[in-house]
Symmetry: C2
């Protein structure tokens, strides 16, 4: 368990579990955060990933994604910057994120965005 | 939504969603059911997939897996026989089940069995 200077904790790669990852991705907003981060060339701050939802609600979602080892958060000044732990996930569960994100040649990820508020 | 003669209902393939599948697989017993079915050459009855847990508890798990479109249940006499909806899942989300089941050359699925009662 690695903890950075402002208290974000991230599970070690070898402790990542499918159950925790699936729980994290079972919510449409959390899945949407993951899709947005996967599509981004750079880390994104929490505000850019709020999809018009209340900050407290999204903080809960970020906490669950972090606890499952799906994303990594660091502070840059007053901002919290998030990125996918893609390399760790790919090493631990090869092919999983590619399939989730629809990188295997299909629009698998698209349904997650249906029925949600515009970003 | 297809419903068979004894009332099991199964969602149509085109309505399967990643969120529902992930919710279904976020429980270690449900993940273990899926792993057992994937390793079996034939459908399995509920008793052979109970892992020593109470019938009522496992019925709940089977219901969630069925509702997510992960498995299909039919009655054969007094038995309920279960099988993975692998073909439908593979068409809808290519590569997903292979990655979940560790078919991409890694022991991804193994951690799910840790800490559970022996089958």
């Amino acid at each position: 368990m690695a903890r950075d200077e402002i208290g974000f904790s991230h599970p070690d790669e070898e402790t990542l579990s499918l159950e925790a990852i699936f729980h994290a991705l079972s919510d449409p907003y959390r899945l949407r955060i993951v899709q947005a981060l996967a599509a981004s060339a750079a880390p994104m701050n929490c505000g850019d990933l709020s999809f018009g939802r209340p900050k407290s609600s999204m903080s809960h979602h970020f906490r669950i994604l972090r606890a499952a080892g799906v994303l990594h958060t660091t502070s840059q000044g007053v901002e919290h910057m998030n990125s996918l732990r893609r390399a760790a996930l790919d090493r631990r569960f090869p092919g999983l994120m590619a399939a989730i994100l629809g990188e295997t040649g299909h629009p698998a990820a698209a349904p997650a965005a249906r029925g949600l508020a515009p970003a």
